[in-house]
Amino acid sequence: MGKKILLEHINVPGIKSLDVYRQNGGYASVEKALKTMAPDVIVEEVKKSGLRGRGGAGFPTGMKWSFLAKPEGVERYLVVNADESEPGTFKDRYLMEKIPHILLEGMITSSFALGAKTSCIYIRGEYFYVSRILEAAIEEAYAAGLLGKNILGTNFSHDIFVQVGAGAYICGEETALLESLEGKRGNPRIKPPFPAVAGLYGCPTVVNNVETIASVPYIVMNGGDDYAKIGIGRSTGTKLISASGHINKPGVYEIEMGITVEDFIYSEEYCGGILNGKKLKAVVAGGSSVPILPAELILRTEKGEPRLMSYESLSDGGFATGTMLGSGGFMVYDETTSIVKNLYTFARFYHHESCGQCSPCREGTGWMEKILHRIVEGHGKHGDTDLLWDIQRKIEGNTICPLGDAAAWPVASAIRHFRAEFEEYINHPERIKEFKHLQELVS
């Protein structure tokens, strides 16, 4: 069994309530941080821990915190990004639903480290029932003196608000999230300035993922060095993986970074192998926007080394033969899957979620969806694959926010690794109802 940090007490009955949570060592970090540590020391510990943003980009959290501007007399904010909308990712929901206090504990400790008097949880609209769980937990924390004025008798006062979004994927982008939080339309801002300088209401703001903040209590209690010992290389600590698709045991797993992908898919502890004993065809390792990889490349890197569940190993080989850990939305496809149909689903999603501000994403996502729709319906034209390739290339990197990249990468990787399947759809539309020949194409 690997080490558990976030989900250690997940099976304790009643862990949702403050009392049970405290009996299991909860809120100790708040006590330790507020009474014995200086804010800068906590930031230093987080830096030492090597904790990286769990929302997808994997930016070092300690560094992000140290970028926070600290002008005199200006409020600072911590915003927790709970707008978990990436298809295939459901780890934050699980965490907040089962053990909401770990997030609140992390928020209080982190806010103390950052000097923020107010923090917000921006949660996606579809998680309205989770927002109620969080609100109940916040109420408990206020009643126990863990929130509000002079927490635990110290000078530190803190308030937490929960804001429910209206269900837009784009609001998971940090600047769009801040716009939405301010009550405006959730359009990404043009950077710079970055939120660390001018974020919520123009004040310095740190935006972190739920899982990132929930990892902070452990770091405060055990020290950054201890956290850095878990995991492998620069991928320290544990990561929540939401596994879905054609596997025997879909669900949320906490893994120590550095276990092999093969282990993760086939071992009984985690996914438990492919459903119905079928063969593995492809894996999307980190939520729908990361490149899809065929079985041989996800299990082994191009150099023939076993691929590990870590930031570095998964991105080994760049986009040509690698992918990204992303948000940890691990989607497994067996041999019966049509990659083209799957891609069409993704493309439809990105088309629907594009905000419409900048031209390449607004027009390009719709165009790609239309072409893929045509291919899937059996009306594909010769040259459509090349056209798709060209469109994605012109979107990637040319947009305001990463949604353009997120829409382009799945298309690029599917064509890169499964081009034959696209050609099959286009050249033999009459055969696409039978999946048999698609399996042959893979083997």
Partner: protein, 324 residues
């Protein structure tokens, strides 16, 4: 002060200048095209992505190149920065991509569009577009709506530059319109087709780079290149009263703000000057207006033809000399 080099030409500019502004100071052919940036509007730019450039050297202190192409209208220069615009194949290709994206849902109804001839998208398409479209799906369509008594909005032609939204936001008291919906279904609109009524709403027509917002007092009266632009002024209590008149014979067909070299309004004018003063007696004519833009309006200007001839002859002479 910061020294910036764009396509090999250097200039010293004050700190906080954007790459686009610096390029415009240098002038010439290396100025990136811009659709959504407007020098008189704050926070404009960054949306259309036509002005993207490559920063091959970040600054003297940190010479690393920027990892992605950047919008020149929203990126400020650093001392020692080196920028590639027309000299970078990557930039030109990306720009062709952007132009293609802007055009796939544009109706290309130039023959019946009042903006034709002074349309930024037309110019952009001529310079950076392909001759043939690769888009073979039905194009996006919207119904035309009237916003206010004098402005027609033809959303089908819109390229979402947000200039009109920012104009209404910044030069009038209340924000009256914005963007509805999302992605390629998004549209500029008022709240349930409310009229936009204020004294300066007409400026939205001038800032629109395409024919999405047109002047109802001028619609279908004449092609712009058949009208004569004249500088004129009058005493106006609301605005500076300095306008450009577009005449045909002795008739004033249209009144607009005076636009600079880049097609951007120099001063805002009020609706009274724009829509109501269509009599030549209302105005003091200063003389013919010089149009810098290379679009078809200026085609019938002798000065341009002569100037272009001179350049062509010089070029040919140079070629002959080079050959020898």
């Amino acid at each position: 002060m910061a020294k910036v080099t764009i396509d090999g030409e250097s200039i010293e500019v004050p700190d906080g200048t954007t790459i686009l502004q610096a390029a415009r100071m240098i002038g010439g052919d290396n100025v990136p095209p811009a659709m959504c940036y407007h020098s008189k509007l704050k926070t404009s730019g960054g949306y259309c992505r036509t002005c993207i450039v490559k920063v091959s050297k970040g600054s003297e202190k940190d010479p690393r190149p920027m990892p992605k192409l950047v919008p020149s209208c929203r990126t400020t220069v650093m001392d020692g920065m080196e920028v590639q615009n027309n000299t970078s194949a990557e930039v030109l290709e990306a720009r062709r991509g952007v132009v293609e994206f802007l055009l796939i849902n544009h109706p290309l109804d130039c023959p019946v569009c009042d903006q034709a001839g002074e349309c930024h998208l037309q110019d952009l398409g001529y310079e950076n577009g392909a001759a043939k479209t690769r888009y073979d799906f039905p194009r996006r369509k919207f119904n035309m709506i009237d916003i206010g008594p004098n402005i027609k909005m033809h959303m089908t032609r819109c390229i979402m530059c947000f200039r009109c939204v920012k104009t209404a936001d910044q030069i009038t008291d209340n924000r009256v319109h914005g963007m509805l919906f999302r992605g390629d279904a998004s549209e500029i609109s008022t709240y349930i087709e409310k009229a936009i009524i204020n004294d300066f709403s007409g400026n939205m027509i001038d800032v629109c780079p395409v024919g999405a917002l047109t002047d109802k007092t001028f619609r279908f009266k004449s092609r712009v290149w058949f009208t004569k632009p004249m500088d004129a002024h009058r005493d106006c209590k609301k605005c500076s009263g300095k306008v450009a008149l577009w005449e045909k014979g002795n008739e004033v067909l249209r009144v607009t703000s005076r636009k600079d070299k880049w097609g951007e309004s120099e001063e805002w004018i009020c609706n009274e000057c724009r829509f109501d003063k269509k009599d030549i007696k209302d105005w003091v004519i200063e003389g013919p207006r010089h149009i810098d833009r290379h679009s078809v309006i200026s085609l019938n200007h002798y000065e341009n033809v002569v100037a272009k001839l001179k350049i062509d002859i010089a070029k040919q002479q140079k070629q002959i000399v080079d050959k020898k």
